[in-house]
Symmetry: D2
Subunit: 349 residues, 4 copies
């Protein structure tokens, strides 16, 4: 009963079937194949926009390559201090950009505060050679705190950035979970609000190892062909990355997966909310929940076979639970029941 991350799960049978189908026959390598072309066409349709698509196998590489297409080595990306690009990629953005900086902009629920973003940019020394130059912002949807930005929030941050000539990146490692939470169109959640390039995550939501850099701004894509190759991210038998994305997008598999994951998170949240003494670090809006439990309780939950990460301030009892396309409803109920029992014991002590 592993709630550590959505990437502890395997993949949909449809993905396996797609791979088996793609395995047949010979095709040219490095992306010059029909399934890769079909994926690009599918994404253009899904997003109602011309796109240039780079299928890859990890989210960190997609994020870092996109940022490298946006900022110079002396550039800067403004992002929330808790953003994945800032704290969970071991400096991949710095490596791929040639040393650009990430300037942290605080805000609630891992969303940059728009006032702080504006003030920072208004007071910034643009053109002053001693200072790195802000050239992009990056926001995560859904955020690292489990929040889902509203369309207005996206538009506001993007607008502030664009007013200063900055590019706009969205890290969509959990794009589908946010999308079904907002119940809007992919276009509405991205380029219609000013997003230039999207990290379109699929691995966490049912694929094996498949992500895509989706460029709405095709000019930015021009150098990415070279950047991807020299970063070692141009997979030779590309059809096998593309086939995952193809199956993922077919028949709305991706949306169904995300709906299930979110429903499981909602049920977990609801269940835990009923229990005495359970608080939450942030609201549940997609497929991550951040409850605070007595430490004795979390220890015993682990003993009982539930796996999850501690989160937030060390020692404060916060944990993170992540649900996914394959989360078993029975595991969710078991978690709630076990927590209920332990909390009652704990209260009795």
């Amino acid at each position: 009963m592993n709630f550590k991350s959505d990437n502890v799960h395997g993949c949909n049978p449809e993905i396996l079937a797609g791979l088996a189908e793609a395995a047949k026959g010979t095709v040219d390598s490095y992306g010059d194949d029909p399934v890769t072309q079909r994926v690009e066409a599918r994404l253009a349709e899904v997003f109602e926009h011309e796109v240039t698509v780079f299928p890859m196998t990890t989210g960190s590489s997609v994020n870092a390559l996109i940022l490298a297409s946006m900022v110079d080595p002396w550039g800067a990306v403004l992002a929330h201090p808790e953003s994945h690009i800032n704290v969970d990629e071991c400096g991949a953005p710095e490596m791929f950009t040639g040393g650009a900086k990430i300037i942290p902009i605080e805000g609630e629920n891992a969303i940059m505060d728009s006032g702080t973003l504006k003030t920072t940019l208004d007071g910034y020394s643009f053109g002053f050679v001693h200072a790195v130059q802000p050239q992009a912002i990056s926001m995560t949807q859904a955020t690292e705190a489990g929040a889902v930005m509203s369309l207005d929030e996206i538009a506001t941050l993007a607008g502030i950035a664009k007013d200063k000539g900055l590019k706009v990146h969205m890290d969509g490692a959990r794009f589908a979970n946010a999308l079904v939470a907002l119940d809007c169109s992919p276009a509405e959640m991205t380029w219609k609000q000013g997003v230039d390039v999207l990290s379109f995550g699929a691995t966490k939501n049912g694929c094996m190892a498949a992500e895509a850099a989706v460029f709405f701004n095709k000019d930015l894509a021009a150098t990415t062909h070279y950047r991807r190759k020299r970063a070692g991210h141009l997979v030779s038998k590309m059809r096998f990355v593309s086939a995952q994305l193809d199956a993922y997008l077919a028949d709305d598999l991706w949306l169904g997966n995300a709906r299930h994951a979110n429903a499981m998170a909602d049920r977990l949240t609801e269940g835990l909310k009923q229990l005495p003494g359970v608080d939450f670090m942030s609201p549940t809006m997609a497929n991550e929940i951040f409850p605070i439990l007595p430490r004795a309780v979390t220890a015993k939950l682990r003993e009982a076979g539930f796996d999850f990460y501690d989160w937030g301030t060390p020692g404060a009892g916060g944990i993170r639970l992540v649900t996914a396309y394959a989360t078993d409803p029975a595991d969710v109920e078991a978690f709630i029941e076990k927590a209920r029992g332990l909390l009652m014991e704990d209260a009795a002590d």
Copy 2:
């Protein structure tokens, strides 16, 4: 009938089966899973040596990360000018090492000439701060010219390098093809001759996207954990990369694949050798063959549906044909027959 590369083929059914099996249930991500551990154990057994293994999805990333573990940014790798790391990775070694140089050492059949290597190192300004410092050599087995280095050749180059304190890398993108050609043990072809770290290729020989950096010298592996992550090459659902390698190594699938590929290349070579006016740029020793044919003939072969690359001096008529684990013997015979017919026509003109 695609002979452009071994990576134009799909993958073995055993690989698909391995993935399907691996897809079950939850496991921790980023390599902390049983199948990844099993692959490391398997490789230790195959190589009769303790190893640290980093499964990844591309050969360029494996090569570049290994070189980065061996040389400083002001270091240099000595390698053949035609080596994949020098001409086919768009500067990945330079990116991953932080700017180290590749010093070209000429030699026949894409094997560094040992005399030239020795002379270069003997005359080198070690310790002179104006010059980049040689810290590693890299050799490819089988080579980019289709040759297979003998154990003595490997030992000689490695010995020269080690005498000067350099590390030794082997790019084994076609490791299995070379191994079955030499009919020796994996240990004999690597660490027993002085190889410190091996790029163990599997994609070209039947996997989807699976390669491994295999460190015999475990000290060199220490920093690679961080380097792999920041290069975006730590796949989250690692089990799916490892499962490919696991199936590949099981029941000698890899060796059977390579034997078939080499046999197909031998048959092609034999067949073409019988034909009038066919010359070869280099001897066929593994699964690549480099014939020289009249240009009119290569054009008509293409029209007839055979696909392959031109190779060598532009305009000289050289081509490269690559066979693989899945090459159909009928395609090989068809190629020979078609070539025979076209050559006779050509001679008649």
Copy 3:
């Protein structure tokens, strides 16, 4: 009457005399000359410690090279967010380290808060490959807010760092000003409190273009020879950089210069403190002062020929005044008098 920085001044006549003397005859280049050796000996004596010294021409290069000797590309330096390395070097540390991060640690007067430093390190995910790894701290003495750290403050931060195995860098762009302010020995202000490597500034305090990386920890210096050359910072006629440092250290020129600069800052502070409505952003402890004046007054001071930078929150009226070895006491008095007159006018309005 330029108070913009200490680097708006020229240089001491003694520096010019040193250069003229050094210009005579032929000597080997790139530092293999007697004057460079003498400077290293002088610094060993000044610091009462064996040292490895790298004379260079800019402070940014000295800082960046030192940090590169301390941290891996996936490493991190903890420093105050206002530190010169973080905001005034256009990403030089990132470039020289190959992409390491600077993790900001807040604190008053541009001094890292020791509690925050300790909490950050105690809670840090050391060994977790997703996170950059803290490997050094950097503190500035005197700080970017004009403060001088006490020996205890230095020792406390260095101690916290060393407990976690981190290296300790001191950016001493205004080292002499801090030293005479504390009235302690150079040894006491550096290695005796745990500093491993010092950026020894001299340009701002009377030289033309001369700084030195002073390694107390000689192991860390080993790679710097190559790093300096490949960064283009190995001056060929090194004697001319060294001759500046030589003259600077001879006859305590450097200490006299710093005493004058600090005295001028004290006088300015004292004079302004007497005036109505003048506040200070931080205490004057060396040669920088940070008064807050009505904006109408600062505008008129500029019209009157006084030059200085606005500082701190845009629009809040803060300015920075920097004095130097060559600041004319008459200019200081003139500034105070003019400010007095303008403030009285302003109050009368």
Copy 4:
């Protein structure tokens, strides 16, 4: 009697006088000063072309920054294998460009062979993502073998480059020596033949530490402001670098210096040519000469107090002698006389 390099000499008295004059008063730092502006104007006049000028303190930094303005990290510079950028800068171009490659083009006297350059570019895989992309050529004037390229040779190489869209760099570490050798105008030796950016050397020819990147193509200069700062090469008291260049250009000091240096090299060459058994590796055309002498003779010349480097194939007896603006004619005569005596002894043995 040091003939090791032109940088073993000090500097002209005029340079010292210029520094003394520049030391007076306060001026804004980082190049916003009158003398820096004057230098730019002087160079515009000297070159009869609008220019953007970046004064710096080392030749390696000037070369590397210029190349970084011309090529992407996945780009390549074509240059002679013996070029300073390839073998004497410890990888500075690779560091500054973010990992671009230098593709060696052989040729006599360290001049790229134009046929080889053309063939290489004609056969190059432009647009092929697996290969680094040629984006610039770099030639050295005078070359590392002491040759001076004719205007035709410059134009031919530049023309081949421009036909393919490549930029053209000239490394002019010994620009003045080449210029007076050709007896042409600075414009004729540079932009009139297609040079986009010049490394204008001054240190070796009488300055202390002063070089300049001179951009005829101003578009290329745009990013160099940031690149220079983050490389730590923006000297704060810039007036002191500029003052050297100012004095250097005034009253044709630079041309007189170069004429003297070349005359000394001519005299040495002439003198040695008269001696029996002296051969030359390459013709003397500027201020470097490359004689071949019996090894017993070179050893005894060193014992007699003459200093110089061995050059070329180790053990073959080649040496390099460099003359400079301050070379004493008496030292030249002494060298010739001593060589004469030793050669006669040697012949007698």
